[in-house]
C-alpha cells in the first residue's frame, strides 16, 4: 500500500544455519530487502495458524542480499516457545514476515569515525550498519561483548569490516574479561570517534550512552522492549524519551524506535512513567506545550 512502509509477506526459508551461539534464518523477501535500511527489524509469525502463541517475534535484520530478488537474514538465540519453533524451520518452509519496521540508524552525511557497540545478539543490526557506513567512507570500530566466547557474534566479519574490533566477555573466554564499556573509552579515544552506535541490553545502552556523553559524542541506541504489534498500534512498547522541546513522552519503541538518541532516553525511568511525562500526574506544570508538538510524532 505504501512505497517505503513495511510489507507483510509469506517468505520461503532459504536456509537455517548456526552462527556462533545463534541460529540464523535467511528468507526470500524482496519487498522487505528493497525497503530495508540498517537498524530496522522484521516481525515473524511463529507456530503456524493454530498455534497458541499469537504474537509475532521481532528480530533485527542482520543481513540483506540481492540474491533471488532479495533475501533477508535474522538471527537469534533460542529463548522460549517462538524461537524454539523458529529454530526447527527448514529450507522451503514458509514464514510470515512483516518488515522492515522501525526507525533506522541515521547515517552521518560526512565520512566520520564511528564506533559500533554490540552486546550478544544485539550485535546483529550493526553489521549492515557497518557496511552502510563503510560505503560512505566512514571509519568503523567494533566493540562486541557477550557472556562468553560463543556469544560474540561474527568476530571475523567484524575484524574484516572494521578498522579495529575489540571484544569483551564476562568470563574472559574471548577478548578482555569484562563489559564492553570497560574497553569503550579506549576505543573512542584511539579511534578518535565522532559518533557512537549501540545495540544490546538496556543496562549496556545506558553505560554506552554515559561513555559517549562523557566524550560529547552523539549516540544512537537500539532498544528492546516487549512488543505486541511492532507496527505502532498497540502502545505496549513504550519508553520514556525527552523530546527536543524538553518534554518527556512515552514513545513507541517500534515506530519511534527501536533506534533512539541515547541522550534522550530516560534510562533511569525505563519501566516506569516519569512523573513529569506528557500526560503523567506531574505534567500539568509543563502547560500545553507538549500537546502541540505531539501532533508531529506518529
Amino acid at each position: 500500500m505504501s512505497d517505503n512502509g513495511p510489507v507483510q509477506i509469506r517468505c520461503p526459508v532459504l536456509n537455517v544455519r548456526r552462527v556462533d551461539a545463534y541460529v540464523a534464518i535467511t528468507v526470500v523477501a524482496p519487498g522487505i530487502a528493497e525497503r530495508f535500511r540498517s537498524g530496522q527489524f522484521v516481525s515473524v509469525g511463529v507456530g503456524g495458524d493454530h498455534s497458541s502463541t499469537l504474537l509475532r517475534r521481532p528480530f533485527a535484520v542482520h543481513d540483506v542480499k540481492p540474491d533471488y530478488g532479495g533475501t533477508v537474514e535474522f538471527l537469534f538465540s533460542v529463548k522460549g516457545t517462538g524461537t524454539a519453533w523458529l529454530a526447527e524451520r527448514r529450507a522451503r518452509d514458509l514464514l510470515d514476515l512483516v518488515g522492515p519496521l522501525g526507525r533506522p540508524f541515521p547515517l552521518p552525511r560526512d565520512p566520520v569515525n564511528c564506533v559500533l557497540v554490540g552486546g550478544g545478539s544485539g550485535a546483529a543490526p550493526l553489521f549492515p550498519l557497518a557496511q552502510s557506513l563503510r560505503r560512505r567512507g566512514c571509519r568503523v570500530d567494533f566493540v562486541l561483548g557477550a557472556a562468553s566466547a560463543d556469544g560474540v557474534l561474527n568476530a571475523i566479519t567484524a575484524r574484516r569490516l572494521a578498522e579495529t574490533a575489540t571484544f569483551a566477555t564476562d568470563d574472559g573466554s574471548f577478548g578482555t574479561r569484562g563489559r564492553v564499556t570497560d574497553v569503550l573509552d579506549k576505543v573512542v579515544r584511539e579511534g578518535r570517534s565522532d559518533a557512537v552506535y549501540a545495540c544490546g541490553p538496556m543496562p549496556m545502552l545506558r553505560s554506552v550512552t554515559a561513555v559517549a556523553e562523557s566524550h560529547g559524542l552523539p549516540v544512537q541506541v537500539s532498544v528492546e522492549e516487549t512488543m505486541a504489534c511492532g507496527t505502532g498500534i498497540c502502545m505496549t512498547c513504550v519508553i520514556p524519551v525527552v523530546g527536543g522541546d524538553g518534554v518527556t513522552r512515552m514513545v513507541r519503541s517500534c515506530v519511534d524506535g527501536p533506534v533512539l538518541r541515547g541522550e534522550q532516553v530516560r534510562f533511569d525511568d525505563v519501566g516506569s512513567i516519569p512523573f513529569d511525562a506528557l500526560g503523567a500526574p506531574g505534567w500539568k506544570g509543563a502547560g500545553r506545550r507538549g500537546v502541540e508538538q505531539d501532533r508531529d510524532i506518529a
Partner: protein
C-alpha cells in the same frame, strides 16, 4: 463493495460488518500501510480522554495461551490531537470513525460527547465503560455497576448530537451482562459493543514477578472468544432489538460469522491486528466467502441465526 454485506448498528449504517476494535488499530493510519482502511465497515479509534495521558509503565504486555495481557492504561495525546490530526486523516482516506471515549469521570464523558458532536467525521461514539470509576473506593469500573454505567451512558446521550449514534462498550467479567446491557439501553444507548478485555494476570515463571507492570492486565485474543460470544448470545436473547457489535478474539471470517449467528450485527477485529496487520482485509474477505458458502446472500440475515435453531435441532 458488495451491497449484500451492508449492516446496521441502529442508526449507524456500515458498508460491511467488519470493524476494528478500540485501542487495537490506532486511528487507522498504521494499518493503512497494509490495506485500504476505507474497505472496512469502520475504524474504532483508541479510547480518547480529554487531556493527554501517559498510561502505565512497561512491561505492558505478555503473551498467554491463545491470548495476551495488556495494560496500556489509556495512553494517548488527548482529544485535541484526535480532532486535529487523526479524524481529518481518516476522513481524507474515506474511512468511517467510531470514536471511543474514556472519561476520567461522568462529567468528562459528557464533555467528550459534546465536543465530538461538533466535530466532522464522527460516525458514532462508543462509550468505554471499563474506565475506573473515580467514585469507587475498591477500584471498580463503571461497567461493574449498572447504575453508574447508566449514568455515564445517559450523560453521553444527552450531551451528544441527537443523530449521533451512541454505543455502550460492555465488560464481559460482570455477573449479569444482560442487566448491564439493559441499564445502558435504558439510558439511551443505540447499540452495544461487547466485550472489553477481561481482568487477568500472568507471572513470569523465570523471575516469579508479575509479567506486566502493576500485576493485573486485560486479557484479549481468541482465548476469550467463547466468553464474548456467550455475552452476545445472552444479550441478544434478552434484548433482540438492540444492535450489537461483537468482539473478543476475532481472528478469521468464520469468527465474524460466529458472532453474527450469536446475535451481533457487526464484529470487531482487535488483537488479531497485532499478529496480522492485514487482518482487517483478510477477515472481511474470509467472512464474505464463508457467508456465501453457507448460502446467505445478505449479511444481515445471519444476525441471531444460532437462536433460530436448537443444537442438532
Amino acid at each position: 463493495m458488495n451491497a449484500t454485506l451492508r449492516t446496521r448498528v441502529g442508526a449507524l449504517e456500515l458498508p460491511n460488518p467488519v470493524v476494528t476494535a478500540a485501542g487495537c488499530a490506532g486511528a487507522g493510519r498504521e494499518l493503512a500501510q497494509f490495506f485500504d482502511i476505507a474497505s472496512l465497515g469502520a475504524v474504532t479509534t483508541k479510547s480518547v480522554m480529554l487531556e493527554p495521558h501517559a498510561g502505565r509503565p512497561a512491561p505492558r504486555m505478555a503473551e498467554t495461551p491463545s491470548g495476551m495481557l495488556s495494560t496500556t492504561g489509556m495512553q494517548g495525546p488527548g482529544l485535541e490531537v484526535l480532532l486535529q490530526r487523526d479524524l481529518p486523516w481518516l476522513r481524507s482516506r474515506g474511512g468511517r470513525a467510531i470514536v471511543s471515549v474514556a472519561g476520567a469521570g461522568v462529567g468528562e464523558f459528557g464533555e467528550l460527547a459534546r465536543r465530538l458532536s461538533e466535530a466532522e467525521g464522527v460516525s458514532a461514539v462508543e462509550v468505554n465503560l471499563s474506565c475506573p470509576d473515580p467514585e469507587s473506593s475498591s477500584g471498580r469500573t463503571f461497567a461493574d455497576d449498572p447504575d453508574r454505567a447508566e449514568q455515564v451512558v445517559g450523560t453521553v446521550r444527552s450531551q451528544a448530537r441527537s443523530e449521533l449514534p451512541v454505543l455502550a462498550k460492555l465488560a464481559g467479567d460482570v455477573p449479569d451482562v444482560v442487566e448491564l446491557a439493559g441499564a445502558c439501553v435504558d439510558a439511551g444507548a443505540d447499540g452495544l459493543s461487547m466485550i472489553n478485555t477481561l481482568r487477568g494476570m500472568a507471572v513470569d515463571t523465570r523471575t516469579l514477578r508479575p509479567a506486566v507492570a502493576g500485576g493485573l492486565g486485560g486479557l484479549s485474543g481468541p482465548a476469550v472468544r467463547p466468553i464474548a460470544v456467550g455475552c452476545v448470545y445472552r444479550v441478544h436473547e434478552a434484548l433482540p432489538e438492540v444492535p450489537i457489535i461483537g468482539m473478543g478474539g476475532v481472528r478469521t471470517g468464520e469468527d465474524v460469522l460466529e458472532f453474527m449467528a450469536a446475535g451481533a450485527s457487526a464484529a470487531a477485529v482487535g488483537t488479531a491486528n497485532f499478529s496480522d496487520p492485514s487482518a482487517g482485509a483478510r477477515v472481511l474477505r474470509e467472512f464474505t466467502e464463508a457467508m456465501e458458502d453457507r448460502g446467505f446472500t445478505r449479511a444481515a440475515d445471519l444476525v441471531g441465526a444460532a437462536h433460530r435453531t436448537g443444537p442438532r435441532g
